[in-house]
Amino acid sequence: MMKIFRWWGGLVVAFLLIGISRLFLPLPFLNEIIIFSIYTMGCSFLLGRVGFISFGQPAYLAVGAYGTAFYLFYFGANPYVGILMGVLSGVVVSVIVGAFFVRLRSDYFALVNLALAVIIFYLMEKVLAKITHGDNGLWFLANMSSTPVLDLGKPSHFFIFALLLALALWAFYKYLDDSIYGACCMATKINEDKLQFLGYSNFHIRWMAFVIANTTTALAGSLYAVYLGFVSPAITHPARAADPVVVTILGGVGTLYGPIVGSIAYTGMKDLLSGYIANWELFIGLLLIFIMLAGEKGIWGTLEPILKKTLFPKSASFRQQESGDRRG
């Protein structure tokens, strides 16, 4: 009983905090944060657990978003089914693409993903313009039927749905970290030869990690689609390709709560700074350099040990995530 309580404790507190901040923070900001942290989670898992850096996450975001958009625009009206379609298309695409991509080394992997994002961008903007309506995008907010318990058309209901979904997702990733598979992922990153020696297939572990991470990204894409009620090729614009990587680093690579903290910091900074000055990139960039030079732990990676020490001075359990990420 105590064990279950402790396992869920951190997660529930984290999401409760976001839920409570609903009282004094604007709703669009919170929705953006939740979706963005789901988006970043995939990248964080790839970078922190398997050691793959991907500059092409928008590609999978677009796959999810367009999977949902096509369903809601042409076929049906139920947003839940739409999200399911988005996730399914994410699974299909990442299974096919992953089989080719995960054979490449980390730096090449980053670039072929970028290439994929660019290809999908032009595919959606120009080549398939008849179906996707090009730059105008697909508008389907009015198409969505209202659903009984949580009506996803309403931002306040959407918030509750996204929060619960994110909680489930984080529990899933926490479970992955504890499982043998999570250990295998860490092992392919640190020493692939030894893992192979133990009888595991590096290729399959990476492939599965790729599918898990990019399905998460596709889920974020379909949430964006349902939340905004429209999808345009701008979602996969190559200029935004590095966002998830930046946020991952900002939050702390490989930590469980890093993506949330990073998203809050990034979205908040973007909203606050861009109100006053046009060049918020300068600050994000300098912060990124600073974090990398100061030991690449990120905001959460630095805060976590301090928090644990002050909150539970006697508990010895904070070694667990400490060992999460060490590179180079």
Partner: protein
């Protein structure tokens, strides 16, 4: 497709390819010698272009601007090398990639701060054309192509005829042995980084007259330049030249066939080449440090 379009398409492709080559050669050298992926070359490219614009506004001479752009890009790259890269040469590739992206991002912010968001035009210094079978060929584009070939020749002579160049080439093969021979490799790193920065500045200065100079220009060519480096094979100069012209032609001729192809086709080419030959056209087997 008629001959006129084809001729001007090929010239356009060659000049774009030259710009890509000038940018990619720096990236390629940096990767070969230091094992870093230096996305911030795109920053020196923007700096070169903006200095060209500023000097042109002040003096009215674009060539002087290009020269000043090269010097400024060299100075900025020297500063960045001293303060950032000098500390992180030992780290792995993903690390340098993210750090250099941070530099690029911060640099774009600084450029927006100094020059503002509005795109700036730079006039072409020589706007004469001469005709081949009725097709007007801008002399400036031919000069760009000629300059890039000269740079190739210069780099080749530098790497093969001077002792520093030979040390750099040896370093691309095996840094530790070079260090063992008593060469100060960190000095080599600095020299290489500055050469890369100056060439990126040159690319920016030359490209400034062909496009509008705007803060995002680095991000716009980022993907193409990377593609050139990857297709050519990281660390190979000859491969970079070949793939730069291939990519330039694919961009230019692709757009003549079907407009959206201009942006998509090179990426498709890269995907195919990487899946068949993961080290690129001329890439040797990749050494891990």
């Amino acid at each position: 497709m008629d001959a006129q379009l084809l001729v001007s398409g090929i010239i356009f492709g060659l000049s774009i390819g030259s710009i890509f080559f000038l940018l990619a050669i720096g990236l390629s050298l940096c990767f070969g010698l230091m094992r870093i992926i230096s996305l911030d070359q795109l920053l020196y490219y923007s700096v070169g272009a903006y200095i060209t614009y500023t000097v042109h506004v002040v003096t009215g001479n674009t060539w002087l601007g290009v020269l000043a752009g090269m010097v400024a890009a060299g100075l900025v790259s020297f500063g960045v090398e001293r303060f950032v890269f000098f500390r992180i040469y030992e780290r792995d590739i993903a690390f340098t990639m993210i750090t250099s992206f941070g530099i690029l991002f911060a640099g774009i912010g600084a450029i927006k701060y100094i020059w503002g968001l509005v795109p700036r035009p730079v006039p072409v210094p020589i706007d004469t054309q001469f005709g081949i079978q009725g097709t007007g060929i801008p002399v400036y584009r031919l000069i760009v192509i000629g300059l890039s070939l000269l740079v190739y020749l210069g780099i080749w002579l530098f790497l093969n005829r001077t002792i520093t160049g030979k040390a750099i080439r040896a370093g691309i093969e095996d840094v530790e042995h070079v260090e063992g021979l008593g060469v100060n490799v960190y000095k080599l790193f600095t020299v290489t980084f500055i050469i890369a920065g100056v060439l990126s500045g040159l690319a920016g200065g030359l490209h400034a007259s062909l496009i509008m100079v705007d803060p995002q220009m680095g991000l716009e060519v980022l993907a193409f330049v990377f593609m050139v480096v990857i297709i050519g094979g990281l660390g190979s100069i000859k491969g970079t030249l070949a793939s730069a012209f291939i990519v330039g032609q694919v961009v230019s001729l692709g757009s003549l066939v079907y407009a959206p192809l201009a942006q998509m086709a090179p990426f498709a080419v890269m995907l195919v080449i990487l899946l068949i030959k993961p080290t690129g056209l001329y890439g040797s087997k990749l050494l891990k440090r």
